[in-house]
Chain length 306, copies 2
C-alpha cells in the first residue's frame, strides 16, 4: 500500500493506493502555513490514512507547488505554503517512519492523470493554474528532464511584441494563458461570483459580448493552443490533458482552444495532418490526480530516468 | 556486426559497426536518383561493406531524408532522391537478405551523435539543413514520439509578424534559421566561393560589416537560440548538438548563438539559471553520425518506445 499527498495552499488531498494504483482510501485536511505547520498537516494526513486502511505504507509520495529536488526531497519557493528552503522530504520521513518522495505537483498530476484517465501513449498534462506548465509522461513514466525543468513551457515566448513577463522575457505563453494573466488583464472582480474562478467570469462576460473580455479570452485560447502545438511538435505526445484552476471553465475552454487549433489547420495542411483538436481533453472534475500520481511515484517503474 | 547507411541526395555514407558501436569499416558511394537507382546504390554499399568486413550483417539501418514510417520502412517525399512513396525497407531487405530498419536521417544522426560524441544525459541533435528539425535521445535511446513528429520544431512560430512559411503558418523558426531561409533572404550567390555553404558566405559578409548580412545573421542566430530554448524548456535535454549544412560555418555560428543566449540570460534570472550557452556544442566535422546512428538502430535497446 502506498500513500500520496497533494499539498496545496489551502488543503491536503491524501489517498492510499494499492500496487495496481487502485484508490483504497482518501481524506482531505486543511493545510497549515509555514514549515512546522505544513509538516504537521502532512503527518496528520498520513496518520489519518493509516487508520483508514489499517496498515502502514511502503512509500509516501508528496506533490507540492514549488521548486522540488526529487533526489533529496528539498523544497524551495513554495510561497503559498510558506516554505522557502526546507528539507521537506527528510523531515516528513522522520515524522512518519516511511520513505518519502517529493515531486513538483504538476509532474505528480501528470502521472496521476495518465493512470486515472486510462491513457495510452505519451501524454502531457497542461496545468493552467497561476502559471502555465506541463508534466510529461513517456512510456508510462514521468519524464522530469535533465535538471527538472521539463515542461516549463509557460516561459517560451510566442510574440516579441507581447507583454513583459516577470521572468524577464517578453511574450511568454504564461503572460496570456494563465490565472496570473487573467488577474492582470481582466481584474473585473465585480463579475466574479462566489465560488467562481475568475476565468469562469471572463468566459461568461465574453459569451455575453463584452469586447474586452472576448479579446482576452481569445488571446488565452491562442496561448493554450500554442502550448499544445509546442508539446506535440517537440515531444510528440499523443494527447494533452488540460487541468488546473482554469480547467474549471469546462467545455467553453476546450471549445475555444479547439476553435483556434481548427483555424490553424484550415491554413496549414501540415498542422491539419497532426489532428491537434482531437488530441486534447479536459481533466474530468473530481479526480485527485496529483495525490494519486504522488502515490504512484513510490513505484520505481513510475519514473523514466534521464 | 551491423551496417548503417546515410543516404543523401549526392552520396551514401556507409559504415559497419560492432556490438559496442565501434566502427570497423566505412565507404562512400554516389547515390542514384529514383527508386531503382537509389536501391541499387544502397545494395552496392551493403555489398561493399560486406567485402570489407568479410562477413554478413545482423541488421542494416538506413537514415534517409524524407517522411519515414519506421514500423514498415515506407518512405515518402524524399524529393532529393526522387522517392515519392516507396516500400524502401522491404525492397532493400529483398536485395540484401537481412533485416532493414529505415529512419528519418535527423533521428539517425541524433543517435549517432550521442554515441560518437560520448554524450551523457538527454540530448537533442538540432539539424540546420534545408529545414530546421531536431532528433531527441532520452535515456540513451531515440525518442520518436507518438506519430514520428517529435523534434519538428522548425514549424513552431516565434513571431506572429514573421515571414510566411511554406507550411501555411507565419513566423516559423525555419523561416529565419535554416538553409532555405538563407537562400530566400540572402540570395547573394556572387559571394559564395566554390565549396562554401551559403551560410559561410553570409557570416563572412556580416563580419565584413554588410548591414543586411548582419541583420539576417542575427535573425538566424536568434532563431537557433529560440529552438534551443524550446528544446530545453520542453524536454529539458542536457545538451543540444548543432549539426547540418549550416554547422559548417563552425565557431562563428556557435559564437553568435551563444551571444544571443547570453543577452537573454542578462535580462532573465530564470533563463540565466538554465546555463543555456554552456549546454550547446557544434557537431565535430567528419563524423558519420547518421550512418553510425542508422547502424545502432538495429539494436532493440536503441529506441525508446512510446
Amino acid at each position: 500500500m502506498r500513500a500520496g499527498l497533494d499539498i496545496g495552499g489551502t488543503k491536503i488531498d491524501a489517498v492510499a493506493v494499492d500496487d495496481d494504483g487502485i484508490r483504497t482510501a482518501s481524506l482531505r485536511l486543511a493545510t497549515g502555513f509555514g514549515e512546522a505547520a505544513v509538516l504537521a498537516s502532512a503527518r496528520d494526513a498520513v496518520e489519518g490514512l493509516r487508520r483508514l486502511v489499517g496498515e502502514g505504507f511502503e512509500t509516501i509520495g508528496v506533490g507540492i507547488p514549488g521548486l522540488v529536488d526529487p533526489a533529496t526531497g528539498r523544497v524551495r519557493h513554495a510561497v503559498n505554503l510558506g516554505l522557502d528552503d526546507t528539507d521537506f522530504g527528510r523531515e516528513l520521513e522522520t515524522l512518519v517512519g516511511a520513505p518519502v518522495t517529493v515531486e513538483n505537483d504538476v509532474n505528480a498530476a501528470a502521472l496521476g492523470a495518465y493512470h486515472l484517465m486510462g491513457l495510452e501513449g505519451p501524454v502531457a498534462y497542461l496545468n493552467l493554474g497561476t502559471g502555465l506548465a506541463a508534466g510529461i509522461v513517456l512510456d508510462g513514466r514521468l519524464w522530469r528532464g535533465s535538471r527538472g525543468v521539463s515542461g516549463e513551457i509557460g516561459h517560451i515566448p510566442a510574440d516579441p511584441a507581447g507583454y513583459p513577463c516577470p521572468c524577464g522575457q517578453r511574450g511568454c505563453l504564461e503572460t496570456v494563458a494563465s490565472g496570473s494573466a487573467i488577474a492582470r488583464l481582466w481584474p473585473a472582480t465585480d463579475e466574479v461570483r462566489a465560488g467562481d474562478h475568475p476565468a469562469q467570469a471572463l468566459f461568461r462576460e465574453a459569451a455575453a459580448g463584452d469586447t474586452e473580455a472576448v479579446r482576452i479570452r481569445d488571446d488565452l485560447a491562442t496561448g493554450v493552443a500554442a502550448a499544445i502545438r509546442i508539446l506535440v511538435l517537440t515531444v510528440d505526445v499523443e494527447s494533452v490533458v488540460i487541468g488546473g484552476g482554469l480547467s474549471h471553465v469546462g467545455a467553453p475552454l476546450l471549445t475555444e482552444v479547439q476553435r483556434v487549433l481548427r483555424s490553424w489547420a484550415a491554413s496549414s495542411t501540415f498542422l491539419a495532418s497532426l489532428d491537434l483538436p482531437d488530441r486534447i481533453a479536459l481533466l474530468p472534475e473530481g479526480l485527485s490526480v496529483a495525490a494519486v500520481g504522488a502515490a504512484m511515484l513510490g513505484r520505481p517503474e513510475s519514473v523514466l530516468h534521464s
